[in-house]
């Protein structure tokens, strides 16, 4: 054991001396690994950035909330079966709440209606088009965590009375009021005045997935009154763009399945379905959405790592090549070492450490580059999801060592098997 440590130390010294004396060669070879590590690391940061972006967007949905919708949150082959379903009405929420209240030990807490439309929002000379405009009740805060940077969400009275108040997303507020606070200012939505009472904290957007940043929320009563698609003009234009859902908060997210069954029962009562009829609505949860997105996410990750892995592979071939050259050049030295009592595994270790040291050096430099690049990209495009983590550092160091071991093995093995006399006679 002790001998192994001394041999290890000796091998490190030789590797260092070797690299120092063949500076150009080592640098050029390490360059392959550097490029490989930079590519793999950047891909890694992008993948974890994407993952975090997904999770961020998912968290908007909440993992303890069920969504009653017309269409299921998954791709369907028989879309015609869903097309003719009755729309979800916002007043289902009230009915559901009444049933929840009368059910002992219900798994559900509260149902919240939401309606949404794309609308433009104006203030003064500024205008933002296509803003996701949400109408809901004050219970909304129960189902979703809304971080207000300034102000507050609307309360129960405002909700009931349909007060013309609005909570705006970060990006909307920023676009309309770039230099001042949006609170207490008036904005124009669809020709109606709304007073800003709250501004959401920034959430970040990603790949166009839903984010609070680009939405506004108003009381549902006001929403229905001013721009429901039921109004004659919209109907004529065929603008069936109002989407209504009911979201229901569950008590215990571990009992999501039970809660789902309970809600299905309630919805069948609300819809008045006779037992032989199939459900004419869908109940969704975040998980279902995730499980349709996860394969996409994983495919991106695997494809990305595979492509960047190729560049690392090329680097590894460079290392293997240079280690073979090193073995050939030092054949006589290997013979001398064997004559002095080096065992096969000593020689094996020596060359493995040499290739590993080279890879590790490349890894360090590559990582430093990758870090700088990440930093630069983060500065230049703040919305690009890039995530440089400690785990990633460990992972790429591990990958470097592994690359060194794998690419150094064949030459090191050849060296360790050399016949001492042949090696000593080598010119």
């Amino acid at each position: 054991m002790k001998r192994f440590l001394y041999e290890l130390e000796e091998s490190w010294k030789i590797a260092a001396a070797q690299m120092r004396s063949n500076m150009t060669r080592s640098t050029l070879t390490a360059l392959g690994v550097i490029i490989g590590i930079v590519a793999v690391t950047l891909m890694g940061t992008a993948i974890s950035g994407i993952s975090i972006g997904f999770d961020n967007s998912m968290s908007v949905l909440g993992d303890d909330v069920l969504y009653v919708t017309q269409w299921p949150w998954k791709p369907v082959d028989d879309w015609w079966n869903y097309r003719d379903r009755k729309k979800i009405e916002t007043d289902y929420a009230e009915k559901i709440n009444r049933i929840i209240a009368s059910t002992p030990n219900s798994n559900l807490i509260v149902a919240v209606p939401t309606s949404s439309l794309m609308r433009s929002v104006k203030s003064g000379g500024n205008e933002v088009d296509g803003v996701f405009t949400l109408g809901t009740t004050s219970d909304f805060t129960v189902t979703s965590t809304i971080d207000c940077k300034e102000g507050r969400f609307f309360n129960e009275i405002e909700s009931r009375e349909g007060a013309q108040v609005v909570v705006v997303g970060y990006d909307v507020a920023d676009a309309l009021f770039p230099s001042a606070s949006a609170i207490d200012k008036t904005v124009l939505i669809n020709g109606q005045n709304f007073k800003v009472i709250g501004v959401n904290a920034r959430q970040g957007t990603f790949l166009g997935l839903f984010s609070w940043d680009s939405m506004v929320a108003i009381p549902l009563t006001a929403f229905n009154k001013y721009f429901s698609s039921k109004s004659a003009s919209d109907a004529r234009l065929g603008a069936a763009s109002t989407e209504s859902d009911v979201r229901v908060k569950v008590k215990d997210k571990k009992k999501l399945a039970e809660a789902k069954d309970e809600l299905t029962g309630i919805m069948r009562r609300v819809r008045g379905l006779s037992p032989e009829k199939k459900d004419d609505f869908s109940i969704n949860e975040q998980q279902a959405f995730k499980s349709t997105l996860d394969p996409v996410k994983n495919t991106i990750a695997i494809a990305g790592l595979f492509i960047t892995g190729l560049s690392l592979f090329v680097g590894a071939i460079g290392i293997m090549n240079i280690t073979f050259v090193s073995v050939k050049e030092r054949t006589k030295e290997i013979g001398t070492r064997k004559a002095l009592g080096a065992r096969r595994r000593t020689i094996l270790l020596q060359f493995l450490i040499e290739s590993t040291a080279l890879c590790l050096l490349g890894g360090f430099i590559g990582l430093a580059f990758a870090y700088l690049l990440c930093f630069g990209i983060g500065k230049a495009f703040p919305s690009f999801p890039i995530q440089f983590s400690f785990g990633l550092v460990i992972a790429s160091m591990f990958v470097s060592v592994l690359t060194g071991l794998v690419s150094g093995f064949a030459p090191a093995w050849t060296a360790s098997r050399l016949d001492p006399v042949t090696a000593l006679r080598y010119e």
């Binding site: 000796e10 064997k338 002095l340 009592g341 080096a342 096969r344 006399v421 000593l424």
Partner: protein, 268 residues
């Protein structure tokens, strides 16, 4: 310096012979063949030899007679094609690669014609190498290596790299490296072959001193004056021992009259 002081030892008439001890090397009828395509090169064709502890043996013979092949065999670097080889009573044929490495590490010290120092390591690290392979701790190792360098008269060249040393100094580093692990035998294949005669004499004086201090020395050379330092000389020709004689310095080694049986040599 100690080498210069001992140069007088190369005075042919004043050689002292120490009584040899137990048999270290015992080979019987060994052969070595190299197959090169169609042709078979028979480098050794049946060599039988016994070498005792604290002998000083010179191996002579024309080029291609198998001297280096025999040395490599004795040094456990190579294995015979046939025949028996016992080193310190152990059959070499039955040893695996690690055991052979251990024998080379602890029992044998090699000195090469081309010095074979590691170019990027300084003298001290070169001498330390066998001790590293023996698993010695760094402090003891450093002291031992330094002492070995002092013993060969290089106490002031410890941190020099091989390319900062003269040929004679390099060979002395190699000798220090060969003896640092207290081997049973020092094998020197033409140790003066790359040196001028004066420097060669210094190296020979060093070997003489090692012999007098109880080391066993086997020396390959084709120069008579070098062989004259040995106490016994064998002559190889075409892979067989042609002569094996007690050869003091100055003895006319070409005269076959003095040829002695190995056993007779031992009792001298």
């Amino acid at each position: 310096m100690f080498c210069d002081a001992n140069l007088s030892l190369v005075d042919n008439s004043s050689l002292t012979t120490r009584p040899p001890g137990a048999v270290v090397i015992d080979i019987e009828n060994i052969t070595k063949e190299y197959v090169m395509g169609e042709e078979v090169v028979r480098a050794l064709r049946g060599v039988t030899l016994q070498i005792r502890r604290n002998e000083y043996l010179a191996v002579m013979g024309p080029s291609g007679s198998g001297k280096s092949t025999l040395m490599n065999m004795l040094g456990c670097l190579d294995t015979p094609s046939s025949g028996r080889y016992e080193f310190n009573g152990r059959n070499v044929k039955e040893m695996d690669d690690d055991e052979l490495a251990a024998i080379r590490n602890r029992e044998i010290g090699f000195v090469f014609q081309t010095f074979n120092l590691l170019p990027r390591a300084n003298a001290l690290r070169n001498v330390e190498l066998p001790l590293i392979y023996a698993g010695m701790d760094p402090d003891t190792r450093g002291q031992r290596a330094e002492q070995a360098l002092i013993d060969v008269g290089l106490g002031d060249r410890i941190h020099h790299k091989p390319n900062e040393l003269s040929g004679g100094q390099r060979q002395r580093v190699a000798i220090a490296r060969a003896l640092v692990n207290n081997p049973s035998i020092i094998l020197a294949d033409e140790p003066t072959g790359n040196l001028d005669s004066k420097t060669g004499d210094e190296i020979m004086a060093l070997l003489e001193d090692l012999y007098l201090r109880g080391n066993t020395i086997i020396l390959v050379t084709h120069e008579r004056d070098i062989a004259a330092h040995a106490r016994r000389t064998i002559h190889l020709r075409d892979g067989v021992i042609e002569a094996d004689q007690v050869g003091f310095g100055g003895t006319d080694i070409s005269s076959m009259d003095h040829r002695l049986e190995p056993d007779a040599t031992m009792t001298t």
